[in-house]
């Protein structure tokens, strides 16, 4: 059993989820409350990672994260290291890959909110930023929970993209889904089944946790 791969998987999924919650919230807010030129276009762009096959995303990510690509070059200048084939690299890839799952449910929750709550907050003197943190976020818990569940699970299942950007390096970028893939390719179906099975309790535990948090905040 490839425990190292399971550990990397879990770490990746958690880090991705936490980062994406922070990144996606303001984006979802802008999409839910503002009208601006090119908004639908921006939205389509954000959702694009879903519609493209992982191989395509992976291919473009290799290019931009590679030593000649924009992100890769910047990273190289800052740290002197390479981004591809590292844990940081697959984390960035996984974040980009899962953006739509974070943004879409949050946007739905935000835009469903009772306008009067916002008006009340404004009258009480709260700036838009404070209203966001003190009113919108706590009243959108179920949408945020939905986003967290989708992102976490999707990061666990992510495979094609990570395979390309990560290079399957044990302990660093070799996640469980890659281990499963390799087992299948080697016709070792029992091993594949075992790793797949071990993902179930992980996913299940996370799901229970989120549901508990969600219920406590249910309004």
């Amino acid at each position: 059993m490839d425990f190292l791969a399971l550990y990397v998987t879990l770490k990746l999924a958690l880090v991705t989820t936490i980062f994406l919650m922070v990144i996606a919230a303001p984006v979802a807010y802008a999409l839910a409350y503002y009208r601006f030129a090119g908004k639908s276009f921006l939205e389509a762009l954000i959702y694009l990672p879903m519609a493209l096959p992982p191989t395509v995303i992976g291919f473009y990510l290799i290019i931009i994260m590679g030593p000649k690509g924009f992100i890769g070059k910047t990273w190289g200048m800052l740290t002197g290291g390479s981004l591809l084939f590292t844990f940081v690299g697959i984390t960035i890839a996984s974040i980009i890959y899962s953006i739509p799952f974070a943004v879409q449910p949050m946007k739905a929750a935000f835009s469903k909110l009772d306008r009067r709550l916002l008006e009340s907050a404004y009258v009480l003197g709260l700036s838009k930023r404070k209203t966001f943190f003190r009113v919108i976020i706590p009243n959108s818990v179920s949408g945020i929970a939905a986003a967290a569940i989708l992102v976490f699970l999707h990061s666990i299942g992510a495979f094609g993209v990570l395979l390309m950007v990560g290079g399957s390096i044990p302990g660093e970028t070799k996640v469980a889904s890659i281990a499963i893939y390799e087992a299948v390719e080697m016709m070792n179906y029992r091993a594949a089944g075992m790793i797949a099975l071990s993902l179930i309790p992980i996913s299940y535990a996370f799901l229970l946790l989120i549901n508990k948090l969600n219920e406590r905040n249910r309004i």
């Binding site: 290799i62 290019i63 395979l163 290079g167 390096i169 390799e182 390719e185």
Partner: protein, 227 residues
């Protein structure tokens, strides 16, 4: 025989060659050859679960042999031999005399190899590196591509400095942009094929196999880097 059709499961690395052969076969024998392309492992599981293919062109010897042993396929035969090369997008890389020397140069930081357990190309590259006594020393520089095409992608996008690819990659448009060494120390990759017993059109399949062994087919294979 007008309007006859056979269905062939083709290992992903042979797509280009296969696609060029199909129209020739149609012209010569009136048989329409339809290909389904995927990784060898994937095709194998499809076949064991009753996929309606007539012929299986594998990327290795192992899986056709296994199908034969399990009674799903006839005796396998070799239809192509591949060759491992060391390819780089950077033409300066090939200035050294041998591939071993090129790899030892300073600026080389990352080298792509295909998964040595799942891919025959990876296994062959490993053998070559072992013969050269470089396998252990290079460990920290190695990056695993999952398929031979992905290894080439790493190399062609300069994500790695060089990669152990298939000869067939060097003849593609992308491949011509770089340079390569033929890695003679790596054993030939023997790709074998087998007729699946479930076929209902054995005569047509036989005709296609005859074409596969003909000089015309040989020419296409060479063009795409096979022997």
């Amino acid at each position: 025989f007008a309007g006859e059709k056979i269905s062939v499961a083709v290992a992903a690395n042979f797509i280009s060659a296969f696609k060029e052969m199909a129209p020739d076969v149609k012209a010569k024998t009136k048989i329409k050859v339809e290909g389904t392309f995927s990784s060898t492992g994937n095709l194998y599981s499809q076949i064991t679960n009753g996929a309606p293919y007539d012929l299986f062109l594998s990327a290795d010897e192992e899986r056709p042999a296994k199908l034969n042993k399990d009674g799903l396929a006839e005796t396998p035969f070799v239809y192509a031999r591949g060759q491992v090369v060391l390819w780089s997008a950077n033409k300066d890389f090939c200035k050294a005399k041998t591939w071993q020397e090129a790899l030892k140069k300073k600026p080389v930081k990352k080298i792509a190899v295909t998964n040595t357990q799942t891919s025959p190309y990876g296994a062959a590259a490993k053998k070559a590196l072992e013969k050269a006594g470089m396998w252990d020393a290079l460990q920290s520089k190695l990056v695993n591509g999952e398929t031979i095409a992905q290894t080439f992608q790493y190399a062609s996008t300069s994500a790695v400095d060089a990669g152990f690819c298939a000869m067939s990659a060097t003849v593609s448009d992308e491949g011509k942009k770089g340079c390569f060494y033929v890695v003679r120390e790596a054993p030939e990759i023997i790709q074998s094929a087998c007729i699946l017993k479930r076929t209902t059109n054995r005569a047509a399949v036989q005709k296609f196999i005859e074409f596969l062994n003909s000089p015309a087919a040989k020419e296409i294979k060479v063009k795409y880097g096979y022997r």
